[in-house]
Every structure is written in C-alpha cells, then in structure tokens.
Symmetry: C2
Subunit: 423 residues, 2 copies
C-alpha cells in the first residue's frame, strides 16, 4: 500500500473548523488506499503566545526551557487532530517527536536531526491507524526535548518520509504550490508543476519564501519526492523531484524554473583597500569573526596609479551594524580609506537547471534589464543560477521584465496570494 | 542538607506575577540551606481551556489523546517557572513526569503511580540546581503519557518526596492550612497546627476539601510529613504527621481534630424488603453493579408482623439516578415494596484520633445536636470518627453547634477564605 506523509502548518490547523477540515482530508487520503502519517505544527499563533509568556517572565530564557515551553504547542494540535480523525471513525494516535523516534543533537532551538527510528509510527500504520507526529521537535541523547528551528516541521515530515520509505511527502500550504515568481509582484506568474530539488534550493536560498532549505536538502539527500499543495483544494501542486539525472535527458524541460527576489540584503563597500596579496583574506576574516553571512562579493580592478581597490559584498541587513563596527575596529590593520553601507539594494535571481545545457541565458537576462532601463550593480552566478543586484526601487520592475523575457508569463493572472508554509 | 519538596497548584502560578512570587519563595527556601524540588500544576484555567478545545473537536475524546492534550498545561507552567527562577540567578531545570521517572499504570485519566525513579531530579539537586517537575502526569510501560486524575499534583509531590527521602513535602495553597471546620460556615474555626494522616484521611473522605485522599494515603504509607501552608505568607501552616504512635503518648493531644461536612450525598430508602438471609446482599450487589459508591447504610429493625424491613443508604448524588434505575430494573428479584430518593440531606463528621482513648464523645455530640433542636437521621462510626446525617438545611447549624460543644472555637474569627488546593 502506498505510504503518504502529510505535513500541515499552523495556519492549516488554526481552529476547530480547520482542524476538522484537515482531519477530513487525511481520512479521504486513507480511504483512497494509502497509509497515512501526518506531521503537524502548533495551532495558529500558539508559538507566538508562548514566546510572549516567556517574555513576561524573563528577558533571557534558557534555551532548554524555551524548547520545553514551545513543544507544548504541538502537543495541543496533535492530540486535537487525532481526536478529530477518531471522530470520523478512523483510529488515530498522536506521538511526540520523542515517541516518533526523532533523534537530534543537543543544540536547543536549532537542533539537527541525527536519526529517525519511527518504530511506533510504523506499528500504528501497520495496524491500520493514522499516526500524527509533532513537527518541529525531537529528543536529544540526554532525553531532553529539542526544537529544530524555523522550517522545522517541514524537516520533520521529510525525515519521517525518508525513514519510513514513503512514496511522497506532501507539504500543505495556503497557496497552490511554487510559482515562477512572487505573484504579488508578477501577476502573470505561473504555478510550477515540476521542479528539481536543486532548483528549489537555489530559489529558496535567494529569497523565494517557499520550503525551508533544510527540508529540501534532506529530501535531496534521501531521495524523498515532495509535493507542495494547497490545503484548501485537491488540485495538483508542485512536485519537487530529487532524481536530477532525468532532467538532463528531457528535451521538454523548461530552461528556467523561476525568478526569485530578495529585499533583505544590504551592501558594504570597503574603499581604498591596498591591492596586495592577503588583503581580501584579512578583510573577510574580520567579517566572518563578526558572524556575518556574506552572499555576493565584487572586487574592482585596482587603479594602476594608486595600487588601491574597492571591495563590495552583500549580507543580511540584520548583520550590517555589527559587521560595520567590526570593520571600523580593524581599520588600522586593514588600511582602507573609507567604508560605505547601502541597504537600498534588491537582488534578483534567475534559476534553472536547463542553464547548464543552454548558452545565452545571461545575455538574455542582461538584455532584458537593459531594455527596461535597469542598472546592474553586482553579478554572481552558480551553475544553475544568475543573480544581479539592483537599486531596491527597481527590483519589482526587474523581476517583471526578466519573467517576461524568459517566456514565463501565463496567459491569465493567477488569483492567489503567495505565502510561506508556516514553521 | 535538608531536602524540601514544594507543590504549587494552578492558582499559585496563574500569571507572570504569581510565577515570579513563587520563584522568589523557592529561591529563598534554597538560600535558607535546603535542597529544593518543586512540583507544579498547570497555570490557572489552562486545563479547563484545553478541555474546551477538545470539546470543540469531539464529544468523546480518546483518553490517551486527552492525556497528551492536558499534559501540555504543565509543560507551560514548569518551563516558565524554571525561567523565572533562573532569572533570579539560581539554576533551575524542568522535567516532565516521564523525565522525572514517575511511572504509572496505563489507566489514562486516572493512572496510579507504580514507581518513581527520580534519577535526573536527584542529579539536578546534587549539582546545586532546583528541579521543577510537572505534577499530575506520568508515563506508562508503553511510554505513553498518563494523567493521575483529581489531586494528581499533590500525589506527584508526595511520591517524589518519598522516593527522594525528602524531609518534608510542602503543599502550598491559598489558605493558611487545615481548619477545625469550614470557616465559611464556622467563622470561629481555628487553624489546625498538627494533625495525624489518619485524621486527615477521615476529614477528606467525609467532605473536607483539603488534600486529596490519594496524596495523604501515599504520605501515610511512606511516612512523608506534609506541611500544608499558604503561598501568600510565611506563616506556619498545618503539619500532617504520619507517625501515629506518638499521638497515643501525648497527653496534650486534643481529642477532636475537626468537624467535616458534606452536602453532596443523597439517600436511597428501599422499603418493604423481605427480612431473610441474603436479601441485603442481593440488594447491594445490584447497587455495586450500578457503580455507586455507597457510604452509610442503616437497616431498620424488621416488623414482626410483616417480616419486612427498610434499608437506607447514602451515596454521591451523581450516582443517584443510575442506582435508582438499576434498583427498579431488579424490582422483581429484590421484592421490595417501594423506593424513595432524598437529596436534601447533609452529613456532619466529627474526627479525632483522641476518640480512641476518650469515652463519651458520641454522647456529647448527640447532646449538642439535641440542644440545637437538630434531628439525626442516620449514624455511622469508625474508630476515630462519628458521622450523622441531618436535613440539608440543618447542616450549617449542626456544624456550628458541634464545633462549639467540643471547644474548637477560637477566640477571634479567622479572616480567611477556605478553599481547595487545585488539582
């Protein structure tokens, strides 16, 4: 019998009505001839309410205690969901991360799964029941409760699917799947029916608020097919394939998967750096020490007259102030002449596994931006991605121009709201 | 170092302010030179809110799932309390029933503790920390979460105190301790400073809303001294001694511990029962089959003329309808002539270990009621208790009259509200 792992986020189980709707869908999936394992997040705003409670008691909660507190959220949603399913006449049992055998390291608040031993889950489905598993949580070697951090429930679902050898991991969300661009910016964006995990990773890493990176990485590593779909309809959503070899052979494959954008980066330019061996290394050692997560780096050709160069790099805006402070503190050592910070930038990323075998993609991209009168400030590329930095106010126009240039526009506007998948 | 187990009920940790007050008290106890283990219930109305959530999804929740749901309550209170203590600079770690080694049978919703293996708790206090343990919950042999039912947190505290060899188990409540009668009825009721576990059991079993029976029984069996006291003051409360031998030797011991009352009973009278061997046995077999918890039984002297007798017994009002139905269904077999039900009764119980060595207590009791013009409908006694049934509307007056007759009145009224200790 096929085995389906279904993951429902907090907005899908926000209240009794939605819990019952989700229960009905689960029962229908089982009645269609599948074994079903469900991963569920905390209801609606529960996590935020628990964080507020913690804040009312202390400014600096212990991470161990915070994990115990937050995992109360899934206990509530998972037991209520099991009750709602039983109410429909199907046996359902809920399990904590620990009971489901989700073993993690001890990094409270951002634990990594080190193994999954889902014995009780396997037994429950063998006996014909539905197993409900708390997302987002696991247990460490010391038998302490841990949480997996942002995107944790998606990762729980994929990890369970891998351990159980599931046929598919269905991630339910409030939109129909992944889109070629954010429909709020590009009304003609199309739903993607089929995408590789590699492309999904590049999209997610460069601003597309779709699945969490960790879950996709896990799926890729263990070969778990993911189906991202709407919890409000039975339409087919987006399949994320992990068998990347097939894409090479298919002539029908579109070249481009989609256009991602990211408005959350800032740019630091270090001016007048001596263009001598080791200067860049010293500079980025200081940046790394400050904990900044550097994305793109551009170094200008140095001036022959002065022997000085400028180095620009992008980083999350949140890392801006601390990185600037670290660079200022090291000014004497680094010997630069000036430091500039710009948070008014936008980044556009064109992603497509087909780029490998299709030359001319970058020329078409730059041509489209040029035709739209948009200036490119930085460029970086990977095998299946080209990213450019523009002025923040030009970003939306850039995304639309590129989307059109690569024939991604659908004939009609999709009336959807683009959103994340919850925690 | 002395080891103190402290139990705080839901009303003591209803919000951030009370959590912080409780945290301060715990830290003060540790600073006074004690090791401290804390047992905590769910905050305020959390349990009722969770029950409401379950009711919004199903009318007949699975008991296993209900236990998972309800135990979310202590996860929240225990982690917040640990945070509040850490905020005061003292290391605190919270543990679920399972982590604390509270092993139970599998009777979800009303599980019994079968063993306590508090290794992690012992290690935490050895390391100088405060251990916070979730009350009311444990883990079954199948590693499923269980709850202990009403009074569960008190039982958790006493069981942990026994397993850890604690010097005292402090039960915090919103009153100063146990009283010689309910101060709402007897304004001159006195706080009891010292009482035996045997007397406490009799008081609790006969209507005094003090500690739960199970907790006192557990304390008695394992010799755990209990100190019931207010979470709002540092006053000495009521000590419940388990060393019953000492009371015999003390000449200073008061004869009477207190006057309990119970308004929650009903009375069934079965009239015209054939007075032949086995008739009562058959009658009470039917009653037991109906699940009724019979308290007092009185059989009249049978009429020589008819060879018939009347049998009256009391039982919790909640058991009344089902028991009457069972008796009606068995009417042919039992051969009685009529069935009467009376829920307008009250029960007064005078409790005191000193009764054993002091004759004349019952005469004084009956005299006091007679002087007050109160009619006695039924009488039952144990070694250390005399209970009488009166009309419900006479009960308050009866309690006051008896309280006065046994010199229990204090010189001044205690300005307190008498209440329970939460779950």
């Amino acid at each position: 019998m096929p085995l389906v792992v279904q993951k429902f986020g907090g907005s899908s189980v926000a209240d009794a009505t939605s819990l019952k709707r989700v229960a009905k869908r689960i029962v229908e999936t089982q009645e269609a001839g599948n074994d079903v394992v469900v991963v569920v997040s905390a209801m609606g705003d529960t996590t935020d309410e628990l964080l507020d409670l913690a804040a009312s008691v202390t400014d600096s909660p212990s991470e161990r205690e915070l994990d115990i507190l937050l995992t109360a959220g899934e206990r509530i949603s998972m037991s209520l969901l099991a009750m709602a399913i039983s109410e429909l006449g199907v046996e359902a049992r809920s399990y904590t991360g620990q009971q489901a055998g989700v073993l993690t390291d001890a990094a409270h608040g951002k634990a990594s799964i080190v193994g999954v031993v889902p014995e009780r889950i396997a037994r429950t489905i063998e006996e014909g029941g539905v197993a409900i598993v708390a997302g987002f949580q696991g247990v460490s070697e010391t038998m302490d409760v841990t949480t997996l951090g942002r995107g944790g429930s998606d990762t729980t679902a994929v990890a369970l699917a891998a351990a159980l050898g599931a046929d598919v991991c269905e991630i339910y969300t409030d939109v129909d799947g992944l889109f070629t661009a954010d429909p709020r910016i590009v009304p003609t964006a199309r739903q993607i029916t089929d995408i590789t995990s590699e492309e999904t990773l590049e999209m997610a890493a460069h601003g597309a608020k779709i699945l969490h990176l960790r879950a996709v990485e896990y799926a890729r590593r263990y070969g778990v097919p993911i189906h991202v779909r709407s919890s409000f309809s039975n339409k087919i959503g987006t399949w994320i394939r992990t068998d990347d070899s097939s894409e090479e052979s298919s002539m029908e494959e579109p070249i481009i998967a989609g256009v991602a954008h990211d408005r959350s980066q800032g740019k630091i330019t270090v001016m007048g750096v001596p263009d001598v061996p080791g200067a860049a290394a010293r500079l980025f050692a200081v940046v790394a020490e400050a904990g900044a997560n550097v994305d793109m780096i551009v170094q200008n050709v140095s001036s022959a007259a002065t022997g000085l160069t400028d180095i620009s790099f992008t980083l999350p805006e949140a890392d801006g102030p601390s990185t600037l402070a670290a660079l200022r503190a090291a000014a004497g050592d680094l010997g630069y002449s000036d430091l500039r910070y710009d948070d008014q930038i936008g980044k556009l990323s064109l992603v497509g596994a087909g780029m490998r075998s299709h030359p001319g993609v970058s020329a078409r991209l730059f041509g489209a931006l040029s035709d739209a009168g948009i200036n490119i400030e930085m460029i970086s590329t990977s095998e299946i991605r080209i990213s450019v930095v523009t002025r923040a106010e030009s970003l939306d126009g850039a995304v639309r121009a590129v989307h059109t240039a690569f024939d991604l526009d659908s004939s009609e506007s999709e009336a959807v709201v683009y959103g994340g998948t919850g925690r």
